[in-house]
């Protein structure tokens, strides 16, 4: 039994708040106390406190005074975690500067500071820095010395991407124009929209069962606000050999946020995602036989 019948729908509405074309519907009156508690827990878990506070403050989501205070308090906590993460970026940048290792930041920080009208709407906790394979050992050592850091060097999509390209693996990344973002008096680099989108899609793909709606919002936010070309997305996804993951992530984001407007890229994503689903069903049937 669902704790409150409209929780899923309201969460989707909050996740899509401010985006054009969503068919998700907000309740027409404040949630009942039990439903609200469950809803706020989920909003917190899905990284949606910023959008929730925005929706309430603009009067778009009906809420009692106590509910408004709860939402603001939950977002306050999320913002403290965000600032703590940002400080790790600043300290990381300071630690890597003497080693001549440039700092490139991916994930929540990158989208919060470039794709959202106000970074406050997009809290984040984890910090993901990108360094070259050759720099990784000394960068890990330097970052591991930082207080409060928990450095986990991981080979993720960046490596997969680079391996698909001829020539220098690292240089390939720099053929894109990265963007300066100021944080704590320092400049760090974040990826251009096309790379941010693929990063968001692949992060959503690796989330697995721990999927968060803010990932869907990131995907929609980049696609709907940056004017990133759909053809470029499809081409790069193919080149990186992750066409199915990217297509699935875009297709799912559109479905979860109840976005009705089809773009060229979302039509592509639906075609690829459903085709892959059919192929996988066919393989399963053949296996059974």
């Amino acid at each position: 039994m669902t704790p409150w019948p409209g929780v899923g729908e309201t969460l989707a509405w909050v996740a899509a708040f401010g985006l054009q074309g969503t068919t998700a519907e907000a309740p027409d009156k404040p949630l009942e106390p039990d439903g609200w508690k469950r809803f706020l827990d989920l909003a917190r878990r899905h990284g949606l406190t910023g959008l929730l506070v925005l929706a309430i403050s603009e009067g778009a989501l009906p809420a009692t005074g106590c509910q408004r205070d709860d939402a603001v308090a939950a977002h306050h906590d999320a913002l403290i975690a965000t600032l703590t993460a940002e400080r790790l970026i600043v300290h990381g940048s300071e630690a890597l500067a003497p080693l001549d290792v440039p700092v490139k930041v991916l994930g929540g920080f990158a989208v919060a500071h470039t794709d959202y009208p106000d970074p406050t709407a997009r809290p984040f906790r984890a910090v993901r820095l990108l360094v070259s394979s050759t720099d990784r050992p000394r960068a890990s050592l330097a970052l591991g010395r930082l207080q409060g850091s928990n450095v986990k060097p991981r080979i993720r999509w960046q490596t997969r991407m680079c391996e698909s390209q001829p020539g220098s693996r690292y240089d390939y990344l720099w053929s894109y124009e990265w963007i300066d973002v100021a944080v704590g008096g320092r400049l760090v680099l974040v990826p251009p929209p096309l790379l941010r989108l693929l990063d968001a899609c692949l992060e959503a793909a690796v989330d697995g069962g721990d999927h968060r709606l803010i990932r869907d919002r990131d995907i929609a936010q980049v696609l709907l606000t940056t004017g990133v070309a759909g053809e470029g997305v499809a081409q790069l996804a193919r080149a990186w050999r992750c066409e199915i993951e990217v297509a699935h992530a875009i297709d799912r984001a559109w479905a979860r946020l109840r976005l009705a407007d089809a773009l060229h890229i979302t039509a592509w994503a639906t075609r690829i995602a459903r085709g892959a689903h059919r192929d996988s069903e066919r393989s399963a049937e053949q296996f059974v036989r």
């Binding site: 603001v72 306050h76 913002l79 403290i80 600032l83 600043v90 970074p119 406050t120 704590g184 008096g185």
Partner: protein
Amino acid sequence: MTELSLRHEPQPDKGYVRGSFRFARDERVLWRENIGSVILLPPDGDQVVTLRGGHYIWELLDQPTSEPELVQRVAEHFSAPADTIRSDLVRVLRQLVKHGILRSVESP
């Protein structure tokens, strides 16, 4: 965590540098605005400072501003007597300086 409020009772204004200095944000401060507060993380130290009801002051401090200028502008903004505003404001400025969130720069 520290909370600063502009609604506290006024405190005596002793030993406070005023007039010839202006206050400016330390550019290394990390911050976010929430409804009703500005959350600040100073460059040194782990203590988060919450400036309750201080959006307008934080906005003014984007540019170096002297205490008299701040008092005048805040009093106008809130349609409140400058004397009442001054004592509250001085206390908040002092705390922000103490936490390393503001630095004082000499007036030209």
